[in-house]
Symmetry: C2
């Protein structure tokens, strides 16, 4: 996967000046702080920002354009470059994605751990190749030197090495990571973004955790309803063996591997040209590679390769092939095979992979036309983890990727017990979010209120409050208008705005009889309950619960119906 990370060069002089300035902190504000004239914080004009700041992308801070210009000192009110506030319906969609993913993880017995946002600088050092320059450092304010985490894998490996009593774990972690990159928000590349990792650590019988990871991947993608997708899979040992067999010099393996990895976006002719002209590979070797790396398929490809003595005589290749055979066997039981594409060109950038590697591509993330040449010419990055969720190939790259890494934890551990083998996957939450949002057809509700409590006439404030209290006591989500005497249409608008399904309407006469009215919102004209139903106040909770359950049942039925339309009835579980 080619990655390009142009990034700004920090200058030491600027750093020093700013640090000196920052030492002089403002004096503590007096108690009467709030009586002082209010600060105007947004007077710095767009053009007055430092020249090394790139153009702003939409949604990035500064939503209000008006400037008062009254104060000379101030700043534009915005979030830092490459970060964003998650809010409103985006937040609801994102939370839904997180809970869908988390449900699947838990279904497989996974637990979560939560590591600090920053790590000791040394923990991150030497893990990310030349992209170490993208690591955010904390200012040295005395004490330890720390940096913001760059991914969730290295902190997990650090945690495992620190806890040798934990010899196996299925852990997931959904959290923000940080890369001091040139943000390209239109491409979805941010400086603060979410990663969602799942890893199985432990020494087990071969390919069993590997198979379960891929099973989990299908469960998640099916639950997220992202459309059709393919899991591309290969094996590091197969690739290494292949390059050995073809005669790639050891010092060229990395760059040739990168070139091969581009076959999903470029033609073989382009890749061949790059290998020969740019990487200096012998044309004969290139052609030999070409024979193999253009192959992709399912189990039949495995059988074909097994017949090829030239390949299987190489130990590395043979070992990789045996792993794949076993894995495919297991994946058949798990009903994952129909989603799989054994792809000999899949290489993946990460150094630390030692076994199977995989990448999930959806139709929604397929390459847009005319993109291939561009990405080919861009410089190749060594970023070992960017692929996993934040590379600039959103729209052309994967939505999830991972592999087996048996040696990473050992980099931290100092004895054999600490060298726990791992296999994992990372889901690109931001990309999944974009695809989900684009595919959404129904309305997303801003909040989850189930009942809006309102009143006719004189306001009946305390009566509304009491009904809310009764509903809250029963665990029902309810709201009322914070107004002594709100008008009825105003209250209906309040309910409609958030798509609240039920209104409870209070009237003085009804209350005297111990009754309240339940009104389902959005009923069509002519519906028998269009005007609402009077129920005894004592039965209110039961009546609301009954109606909520009915409504939920209806929604579930509708969603099953919708889901069934997409079912491929030919996919059938194998018989035992």
């Amino acid at each position: 996967m080619p990655l390009h990370y142009p990034s700004s060069t920090p200058t030491i002089t600027k750093t020093l000046t700013t640090l000196l300035l920052r030492q002089s902190l403002p004096p503590p504000p007096p108690r009467t702080l709030l009586l002082l004239p209010r600060l105007n914080l947004r007077t710095m004009s767009e053009s007055a920002r430092p020249p090394n700041e790139g153009g702003r992308a939409p949604k990035e801070g500064g939503k209000r354009k008006e400037k008062s210009g009254k104060e000379k000192r101030g700043f534009e009110l915005k979030v830092p470059k490459g970060t964003k506030d998650w809010e409103g319906k985006d937040m609801v969609i994102r939370d839904k994605i997180f809970s869908t993913i988390t449900d699947v993880f838990k279904r497989h017995g996974a637990v979560t751990i939560d590591t600090p946002v920053f790590e000791l600088r040394e923990v991150l050092t030497g893990k990310y190749g030349e992209d170490s320059k993208l690591i955010y450092d904390l200012a040295d304010q005395g004490g330890e030197i720390c940096s913001l985490r760059y991914d969730l894998t290295v902190p997990f490996a650090r945690w495992l090495a620190m806890n040798p009593s934990i010899q196996n774990i299925k852990r997931y972690h959904i959290a923000k990571v940080y890369r001091r990159d040139q943000p390209a928000m239109t491409k979805g590349r941010m400086r603060e973004f979410y990663q969602c990792d799942f890893d199985i650590a432990g020494a087990y019988d071969p390919m069993l955790p590997d198979a379960e990871i891929l099973r989990i991947t299908t469960e998640i993608l099916d639950s997220l309803n992202l459309g059709s997708y393919t899991i591309k899979i290969n094996h590091r040992k197969i690739l290494d063996g292949l390059f050995q067999i073809c005669g790639v010099p050891i010092d060229k393996i990395r760059s040739i591997s990168s070139a091969v990895d581009k076959l999903d976006k470029a033609t073989w002719e382009d890749v061949r040209k790059e290998m020969i002209d740019e990487k200096g590979l012998d044309p004969e070797v290139a052609d030999k590679i070409g024979e193999y790396v253009q192959k992709k398929g399912g189990k039949e490809l495995l059988d074909e390769l097994k017949e090829d003595k030239a390949l299987t005589s190489n130990d590395s290749f043979a070992e990789g092939l045996e792993d794949m055979r076993l894995l495919f066997d297991y994946l058949e039981v798990f009903c994952v095979m129909p989603k799989l594409s054994f792809d000999l060109s899949l290489a993946r950038g990460l150094d630390y992979y030692t076994g199977i590697i995989y990448e999930v591509v959806t139709e929604a993330s397929a390459p847009p036309a005319g993109k291939s040449t561009q990405s080919q010419q861009a410089p190749i990055s060594d970023d070992p983890d960017a692929d996993r969720s934040n590379d600039d190939s959103i729209g052309i790259g994967s939505i999830a990727a991972g592999g087996r890494y048996d040696e990473l934890v050992g980099m931290f551990a100092n004895n054999a017990k600490g060298r726990v083998p791992c296999v994992g996957i990372s889901f690109g939450v931001d990309r999944i979010f974009s695809i989900t949002k684009a595919r959404m057809t129904g309305e997303v509700r801003g909040n989850e209120v189930e009942v809006y409590v309102m009143a006719f006439g004189t306001g009946l404030l305390k009566e509304r409050m009491e009904v809310c209290r009764i509903l809250w006591d029963a665990g029902i989500k309810a709201e009322f208008m914070y107004k002594n005497k709100p008008k009825l249409p105003q209250q209906f608008t309040g309910a409609e705005k958030n798509g609240v399904p039920f209104a409870v309407v209070l009237g003085e006469n009804e209350l005297k009889e111990g009754k309240v009215k339940i009104k389902e919102m959005g009923l069509s004209e002519g519906h028998p309950e269009k005007k609402g139903v009077d129920v005894s106040k004592d039965d209110l909770v039961a009546e609301i619960r009954k109606r909520l359950a009915q409504k939920e049942e209806g929604a579930r039925a509708a969603s099953i119906e919708g889901a069934l339309q997409g079912v491929d009835l030919k996919e059938k579980a194998p018989e035992m």
Copy 2:
């Protein structure tokens, strides 16, 4: 609330040196990274750490003490000072607390927003008084100057000011905040810790959102089952009026206010002495204050104060009292009054409060004996937010606190529309966690697996995998052992270790008949199902679901029974 934040002084020279060093990044590792001799990362001895590093607290990193001493360069593998990994059962308890709290927020129609972990430095500047020195800055690596957020209130105010179209919102935010303080982990003071904030922004009829915030507080504390608690409440205007009436000079109001706030931990004599001897207050004025600030009570105190013409002739006092009257009226409808203590000594440190202020104290967080003198002698901090969740008075302080702040958003906004009034509360998650953990009696399960699939004899690996797949397809949480031929006792141990409620046991003979065995774990000897029940494989999902539902029902019944033992039947909702 007195707060003491001794903190280390950063030195510029050290900062510069480290920055210069940090510019020279290691070269990208070669492709053969993993074939290199493994780094040994833990060779730096305890004594070799910088002298300005405080003593390590338990649980903070470095769990492994053994050192290889082979390499000269390396570092102790640990998390940064004042941070921790959340893992295992602690993580489960914490997540349970978060979801309990979140459920209540959602019941009241709240939504969440997620702001970046770092903000532009200017956004934080001037908001935290002299504790600005506790703000974590990011290193200046070119571009904007940013700092880690210090709390969740200022980012919320920044967000409101940036989004003037949002004129009202009920928002909650549970997230980490950062304070570069001397950590005192035994006291629960961390550099990275969670805050849990709920705020209602918007211009409404008086005291309605305020009342709902306090109602939410009781719902949360009741759900968390932390034992008995008291919401101490006062009003900034009552306090200001009181000091005016008693004749406190304007420049002494802040320090006198701080002294008065100590009345929960110190005697009146001690506080009086401090006001006169240390703060230079006229003894007569002190005695006048003493008449009032020792008063606490419920509605009857309100009535008593209303009769006092000397007090009600002061505009500020009268306004505060009218707010309180209205609030108490509403809180009666919401059944909150039994939890309330109107406490004229409650002052709270935050400058930005403009209306009611409150603080929740549980019995579990009551002052330990002999603590009062010590906290009185400590220097008073201006930290305006520490009270809300991370002050060093854990065990003696509050578990939640907040108030009305109508002017904070206006500090960011540059027009009237941007000045949104707010009222909010912050829950001290770390303290709630400690209390919950200490009160826990039952076992906490590490994961949520419902069924452990195992086999007799020959392993039946693929058969186990297939049964897992069937269960997963049905949304049932299931696991099997990653071993070709595991022994049965090994598998039972795997299930018991995590408290899995059900085992499905496969045997060749049963499978031939299309049957599998369901075994409920932990049944007592003599139970009719002790040896398990054979069911048809086709009925497995239904049979498991039935048993899970029964078990859940049983647990719910037991928990209701348990909860009822603590119910005070005298507390009754007022009749309308």
